[in-house]
Amino acid sequence: MISLRLKVDPLPIDEPLVVRLQAPGSPARTDHDAVLAEVAPDRREYDLNGFSFGVYGVSDEVIDGDVLMMMPGETTAHRLIRAGSAHNTLLVTEQCDQLCVMCSQPPKKYHADLFEQFTLAASLAPQGAVIGVSGGEPLLHKDRLFCMLEEVKARRPDIGFHVLTNAQHFSRADFERLQRLDHERVLWGVPLYSAIPENHDRIVGKPGAFANLEQGLSILMRAGASLELRTVVMQQNWQDLSALADYVSTRLNFLTVWAIMQLERIGYARMNWKDTFQDTSSDFDQIARAVDIATARGIKASLYNFPLCSVPPAYQDFAPSTISDWKRKYLDFCLNCRSKETCGGFFQWYSHTEGFEFLGPL
Amino acid sequence: MDREDYERTLSIEPELCPWLAGAVARFHYLYPNVHLSVSDQSVTLATSDDQMPALVQDFMFCLYRQKIYSETLPLRTMLIEGVTGFASRSA
């Protein structure tokens, strides 16, 4: 597993500090660039405006261009942006107003506001980077979030964002701000688990969520925003999938992609695994129906986080590699599989004893 | 006048009568060889073709279509406005 933290020499700071690491010899292009000055077997020394600090344990990894955030008094720094990776996500809050049964990031009560640092970090990202924004629920801090998106857009119009939100907090007043964000640069990832309001509400642990969500989606549509609708497949919504496909085709025809997702075994999902995980390797039928309906209707459906061997051949083309590099693994039989290069593998925390029954090299 | 062998009189419910004249105009456009005579709440079809059941059905369809068209016209107008003149709408 790839580490998202690096051991560093603590700097004499009393506020979080955002730093971009540069290769030796490259000029410091901004005040936030630290240039590599010295390389020792397990320590790389960087020079930042006359100060120097050390970064440890990265001998075989390329970290040039990475953006780190150092916290006062801490000896590890956050790797906010890994320049060599397509999977960078900013966790902007741990607060949430929903309590999904399979939540991978269970909410916390407090909020540490780092939007200023995140804005800076995003502005230092490599050319054309797409940065994830996640939580908790990012739109609980809607104004701060919009400001971040707007500022980065002004400084770095090439940067894209993929924002995960429950869409409970959009209002008509957000219309203009949404419209001004380039729809090609911001993709809103919004979960919808069922077309039956009570079922959706029960899964997200919030009565009335479905009604709010419908309003939020309507606002996104009218603002010309790009939508990635996300549906995690579970026992709780297994029977609802084809009706959901029907609903999507009449209401959400504007979406960019409908992501039908397998469960990630972490957080609440791990706690509730036995009652939640749906073994789609033994019965794929409801997903097949959902994909067939969406495809016939011209809606792009995509299967996220499904190992290819768990998907029937006719549907494998719908399953790109989607698991973030830092939390991905392959199993031992994958070595013999001819599709290893295109398959997204498994989550780091996948447990084969409690997982798919019918897997094997293709 | 041609001999018209088949004749049928339909009594039209009061709720549908406001659209009777429009339905007659449309039906005559589609079936110029069918003779129609209208009174307050009824219409008589006369034709030399033995197609009466189909013609009766088509006449009722014309009547329904006139009503549906005129009652849904405000919604259609709103849709076209919404699609072509979005900025001027508040919803």
């Binding site: 419908e214 309003q215 989606l217 309507s218 549509m221 009218r222 084809s242 009706a243 496909a245 029907d246 609903y247 085709s249 009449t250 209401r251 959400l252 025809n253 504007f254 097949a288 129906r289 994909v291 067939d292 309906i293 495809t295 016939a296 209707r297 011209g298 006719a314 549907y315 | 419910e13 709720e15 549908l16 449309r26 456009y29 589609l30 059905q57 369809f61 009547l63 329904y64 279509r65 009503k67 549906i68 068209y69 849904t72 919604l75 259609r76 709103m78 849709l79 076209i80 919404g82 699609v83 919803a91």
Partner: protein, 469 residues
């Protein structure tokens, strides 16, 4: 709960097909129609209509917005011009009986682009704002002016980010340099293959030697270029049509799996030789038998085949925004997304418009490459090119899937206000959509298999064929 306007039409089995302006559809019975027309919908009716996207609770709610979006996507909006049809010569080395483009013999002078026209065409292409372009060469026989094609191709490949060329050729005489051109990555071939050898010879090549020459070139083309680079379109005279099975076999011989059946066109030379009145019925019956043959073929063959236009119409039924075919759009605004530049440098909005002008019926030109585009006449026509509020189309459940072809109407009837059901366009499309819905609601496993294939899915889901009773 407000319900959007529903159009209806009797279907098979005593039920009616209902559809709305956004293309949502379902079947139900006469009792439902009565309830709907007389404002007596039950809560069960409303629940069904709500789920199926025909009803909403409040203007602006998600059901309403979804409907509005699907409705909006049904309307064709031309973007910048990115497709140009060029006719560098009217000279041709064949004399096909139905030639719709009007042609002159190979040695005839005065029907080619001279240098000044070529320069002006390049200037015209240079003025386009699109970054990607498609250029289609028609004629006469475009390969007689290989020099022009090469010149245009060279220009486009350095001027645009991407350029696709289609050469509409009869594949009769293809020189080595011509084969080289056809083999390039950005060049595609479109040719005619009239069903089977016998029909092809009767309608096009006439002499056995010429027929041999064509089929030998077609063979060579498939082996050298690959069948993906070649479209072969059959022009069929329904009065003398080859059997569907033979046509399918002939095409599969060249590994061509998409067959775009075209009726002999009522224009140009075709008008003199073929009597086009009342032809829709005859064509519709042939076309229907062809679909039957395809269903049968696809049931047992490992190589499925489609009829291109039928599949296009099927996809227009199932989806909004499927506007790729220039003849089936609503509104059918012409002269903006693409134009035709004739042998004399004159510009036309469509190929049919060029023909209507040539036979002296109506001048549909829109300027020329020297003086530029003048679109007043065409835009007056475009103002009428919408079917949403036409007194016939407004009641038709196929309206959202269908289109408008005013140039075809002018060509056949000399006017654009014919009652639709009396037009060839309406008769042909009604027949196609009737057949599409018969297939959608069919229980026949053979039909279901072909339907799934043509819809682009593994199975055709029952939720795409709802019946409310």
């Amino acid at each position: 709960m407000p319900v959007v306007p529903l159009k209806f039409r009797p279907h098979q089995d005593g039920l009616l097909l209902f559809a709305d302006d956004a293309g949502g559809y379902f079947k139900s019975d006469h009792a439902f129609l009565r309830r709907y027309a007389c404002d007596q919908l039950t809560s069960g009716d409303l629940a069904f209509l709500h789920v199926n996207g025909h009803a909403y609770n409040a203007v602006g709610d998600l059901a309403y917005s979804g409907f509005e979006h699907r409705f909006a996507e049904r309307l064709y909006l031309p973007r910048e011009m990115d497709y140009v049809i060029l006719v560098p010569t009217l000279r041709c080395n064949l004399a096909c009986g139905y030639c719709q483009v009007s042609r002159v013999n190979e040695a005839t002078p005065g029907f080619d682009w001279d240098d000044s026209i070529v320069e002006a065409v390049l200037g015209f292409l240079d003025s386009l704002s699109a970054r990607k372009i498609k250029v289609e060469f028609q004629g006469g026989e475009p390969l007689l002016r290989l020099d022009v094609i090469e010149r245009i191709r060279d220009f486009c490949s350095q001027r645009f980010d991407a350029c696709e060329l289609v050469i509409c050729t009869n594949l009769q005489e293809v020189s080595d340099p011509a084969w080289d051109l056809l083999g390039r990555d950005d060049v595609f071939v479109s040719t005619s293959l009239d069903g089977n050898r016998m029909t092809h010879q009767k309608q096009r090549t006439i002499l056995p030697g010429k027929t041999d020459q064509f089929f030998s070139n077609l063979d060579f083309a498939v082996s050298r270029l690959g069948s993906e680079k070649i479209s072969a379109l059959p022009t069929i005279d329904p009065r003398n049509a080859p059997s569907p099975e033979e046509v399918i076999e002939t095409f599969l011989n060249y590994d061509i799996r998409s067959i775009y059946l075209r009726p002999v066109n009522y224009q140009g030379f075709a008008r003199k030789k073929f009597d086009a009145r009342g032809s829709a019925d005859l064509w519709n019956r042939y076309h229907a038998s062809f679909i039957d043959a395809l269903v049968e073929h696809n049931w047992s063959s490992a190589v499925p085949v489609e009829e291109y236009y039928f599949v296009h119409c099927l996809r227009r039924v199932l989806r909004s925004g499927h506007n790729g075919h220039v003849d089936l759009r609503n509104p059918n605004i012409v002269g903006h997304g693409y134009v035709v530049i004739d042998y004399d440098g004159k510009i036309y909005p469509t190929d049919e418009a060029r023909m209507v002008t040539r036979i002296g019926q109506f001048d549909m030109s829109m300027g020329d490459v020297f003086r530029g585009i003048s679109a007043e006449t065409i835009d007056r026509l475009n103002a009428e090119a919408l079917n949403n509020f036409h007194p016939d189309c407004v009641h038709c459940p196929y309206q959202a899937f269908c289109g408008v072809d005013l140039v075809d109407d002018i060509s056949r009837y000399g006017r654009i206000d014919m009652p639709k059901h009396m037009t060839d366009f309406c008769q042909r499309h009604t027949s196609i959509f009737d057949r599409i819905f018969a297939m959608i609601y069919s229980d026949d496993p053979k039909v279901k298999k072909t339907l799934a294939l043509w819809a682009g899915t593994s199975h055709f889901d029952p939720l795409l064929a709802k019946v409310h009773q």
